[in-house]
Amino acid sequence: MDMGKNKVIKWFSAQWTGNPLFSTTLALCAIIILQTCALGFDYASFGEWWSKFCNNWIIVLRNNATTGIVSLGMAFVIISAGIDLAVGSTFVASGALFLLLLDSSGAGLLPAAGLSGWPAFGIAVVLVVLFGALLGGVNGVLVADGGIPPFIVTLGTMKIYRSVTQHFMQGRSPTFPSSDFGSFSTVTIGGYMVMPIVYWLLIAAILYVISKKTVFGTHVVAVGSNEKAAKLTGISVKAVKRMVYVMTGALVAFASVIQICRIGSMDYSNAGSGYEMDAIASVIVGGTRMSGGRGTVIGTMLGVLIIGVMNNLLNLYGVPPFLREAFKGVIVIIAVLLQKKEATS
């Protein structure tokens, strides 16, 4: 008995110090338990409780799918020892392009070119994703080839992308043909609206493979961990850096497509604002090191969930809206405190 207890403690402490995802997972479990309590676990009517539980989860996941996708890109950027503050602005700029392309109020670029229906939609998505990649590429080139610190570069483009979008969209009000294409995000499976979640998981799966099984994934870690050594190993450090921003731009643009299909419009001054901070917070909570070199796709997913479920929980417990951000702040700080054990052990 005593031996068994000892073993558990040993295992626990080994995981605690050795496995960077352990504390994150624990935190997530704790929050889920709180959530269960909030939903009022009721043994007698298990079926009813269960459906409430599932429903709640699907809402949480769906609401976080867009930030989830953005966070995955952000994780790659941060692992490469960069940062991308321009994700929110890229989100709104690519969203605006998407609306202009498919506008159903007469001025749509693709309808004007004689394209309609799903082919037009497909072309629009490809163009928007390329556009996002281009915006990301501008960041990447300035960081990699211009040698400007990523914080500064993306702080600049964050301002530029949004303000130019706002200016350009002044007096234009494209309408999204929701009845034609909204189903890209809103079609239901088994009665649940899960498409955003499906896209998120799909992208996560692809990025997981990229991070674990490709040369590029390893090079991102190498660049973030020891740039000088990476360069001397013949890794094209510049190409790796450009690529992570391009990738993030493309992911953000796709997230924007999902969002517009779901809600049918975009508010150019507010959409996507705060995404950079939410994404950074999720990435950090997910165990990624701010200075680069360490981080995982799975950790980032957990980080997004923790922040997402936390939001949901604050909602369920009726915490006043203005205080919610404070809770997020606390979570981020605790997460980083937990990670500090790495430095001392």
């Binding site: 080994a14 493979v209 099984k213 490709t214 040369v215 390893t218 870690v221 190498a222 973030g224 961990s225 020891n226 000088k228 050594a229 990476a230 360069k231 001397l232 190993t233 013949g234 890794i235 094209s236 070199g293 360490r294």
Partner: protein, 494 residues
């Protein structure tokens, strides 16, 4: 001060690396701590330095038990630690690095820069070292950084100084300066623990020795009662064959030719050539520019003047990846700064330069990656836990072997090795020499940069000696002796 280790045990996870180690050092002693790569030397010292905690056993200072809970506590006890893997702050100036964490202050806590500069300058002058205390750390080469690190320990007026392989990136001349200084300190009653794999210097400097093998003390005593042969036997556990010299052979095909290469303040008007299958040495003292020269050829700092020819064709690598594609490979010196990726595993660090080769449809395949690495791991007798452990869990010498594996995988045409045996133990050194000879015998042109006379003499068929950025001498075969090399290296050759 008397330091006693009593029955120290230490494990990392399931692996026990120190099995009850006891030893002692007192003021006025220079204790050589010897042993193979991975024997546990750094681990033992990290316990004294407050970086690791022993699982059991005690440390006594002047008879009273102490526990070092942090590096600061260890320093407070008068123990200074010069680490094997340096961690200079590259964005600070030399004097700021020297005083890091122990800054001189004026009233209200303001920094007393004038005083720090003054003290730094005095100390550097004492040591006869030409480093301007105002230069940024990042502008110094590895050996200068090493010297600054050593001065840090001297500044805090420690009563015991631990030196974990302090000479691996120094050339003979600086080593002598260091030794002079160590002897001066010892005369003042300071105790030194000196870790090194270079037995000649150990024999020359130290008064006592302790040998660790696989975490056990296997021998100890007075230095003047053993020979270097006996020491090496204790270290490896069996008799070591006399190191042979590489046979000088005739080589036909010129692979690399360099004409009138210059780069401001680093090297000037350098011309030489290397042939296929040849092992060429390049040596000199600190500031001779050999590392910078080959970094330029390798495309890391491609803004040089002059012309490089590869197989007779003009060639100018604009980037390291271009050089590698052309078959030129450079194993840089100072692995921690230039080679080790601390967040990648042993396996990935050992195969980082050749990852593309293991891919199918863009996806890495583990099997070929592993099998290729394991060949080198066996050749080098690499000591590691699991292939997926972080590379930083390996001992210093074993990390060096991983770095070498990374490059030997690439099947280069020209292999440039900068200080290839940094921190490698005597047994493994012979094996590495053997491997380099084997590589050369397949027609690879090998260039070995080293400040260690014996390494050049044993391994190379021919050597260039550099002095202040110029080639001042060339020695071949039996002409290569430490005296001849030193004569040129100090600029007295002409």
């Amino acid at each position: 001060m008397l330091i006693e280790f009593s029955n120290i045990y230490k494990s990392f996870g399931p692996v026990e690396v120190l099995h009850g180690v006891s030893m002692s050092v007192k003021g006025g002693q220079i204790m050589a701590l010897l042993g193979e790569n991975g024997a546990g030397k750094s681990t033992l010292m990290n316990i004294l330095g407050g970086l690791l905690r022993a699982d059991s056993g005690e440390i006594f200072l002047d008879g009273s038990p102490v526990v070092m809970r942090s590096p600061n506590e260890s320093i407070a006890h008068g123990i200074a630690f010069i680490h094997q893997e340096l961690s200079p702050v590259n964005d600070l100036r030399v004097y700021e690095n020297m005083f890091l964490g122990r800054e001189e202050r004026k009233r209200f806590g303001f920094l007393d820069r004038a005083k720090m500069r003054q003290k730094a300058r005095e100390l550097l002058a004492d040591l006869e070292i030409e480093i301007d205390e105002e230069t940024y750390m990042r502008d110094l080469d590895a050996s200068h950084k090493q010297i600054v690190e050593i001065t840090r320990a001297l500044l805090c007026e420690a009563r015991t100084i631990i030196m974990d392989e302090p000479t691996t990136s120094l050339a003979e001349h600086e080593i002598e300066l260091l030794f002079k200084l160590v002897r001066k300190l010892v005369a003042q009653g300071v105790g030194i623990i000196f870790i090194s794999h270079k037995l000649n210097e150990v024999k020359d400097l130290c008064t006592d020795y302790v040998v660790l093998r696989n975490g056990y003390v296997v021998a100890s005593g007075k230095m003047d009662e053993v020979t270097t042969e006996q020491l090496s036997e204790h270290i490896v556990g069996h008799e070591l064959a006399q190191m042979s010299r590489t046979a000088v052979m005739h080589h036909e095909d010129e692979v690399l030719r360099v004409e009138h290469l210059s780069r401001e303040r680093q090297f000037s008007d350098v011309s030489f050539s290397v042939k296929s299958g040849e092992i060429l040495g390049v040596t000199g003292l600190l500031g001779d520019g050999r590392s910078e020269l080959f970094r330029s050829i390798f495309g890391d700092t491609p803004d040089y003047e002059g012309q490089v020819y590869l197989d007779g064709q003009p060639f100018h690598a604009k980037s390291t990846s271009q050089a590698i594609r052309a078959g030129i490979v450079l194993v840089p010196s100072n692995r921690k700064e230039n080679a080790i990726i601390p967040d990648l595993s042993v396996l990935y660090n050992g195969t980082l330069a050749t990852l593309k080769r293991y891919c199918r449809l863009g996806l890495l395949r583990r099997a070929p990656q592993e099998s290729e690495f394991l060949v080198h791991a066996a050749d080098f007798r690499l000591k590691y836990g699991k292939l997926d452990d972080l590379v930083t869990t390996l001992s210093g010498g074993n990390q060096q072997k991983v770095v070498l594996s990374r490059w030997l995988n690439t099947n280069p045409r020209i292999l440039i090795l900068d200080n290839p045996t940094q921190g490698v133990d005597i047994g493994a050194k012979q094996e590495i020499y053997e491997i380099i000879r084997k590589v050369a015998s397949t027609g690879v042109a090998v260039v070995v940069l080293s400040g260690e006379g014996q390494e050049i003499i044993r391994l190379c068929e021919r050597t260039l000696v550099m002095y202040h950025g110029r080639i001042v001498g060339e020695l071949r075969g039996d002409e290569m002796t430490e005296q001849a090399i030193m004569k040129y290296a100090t600029g007295l050759g002409a």
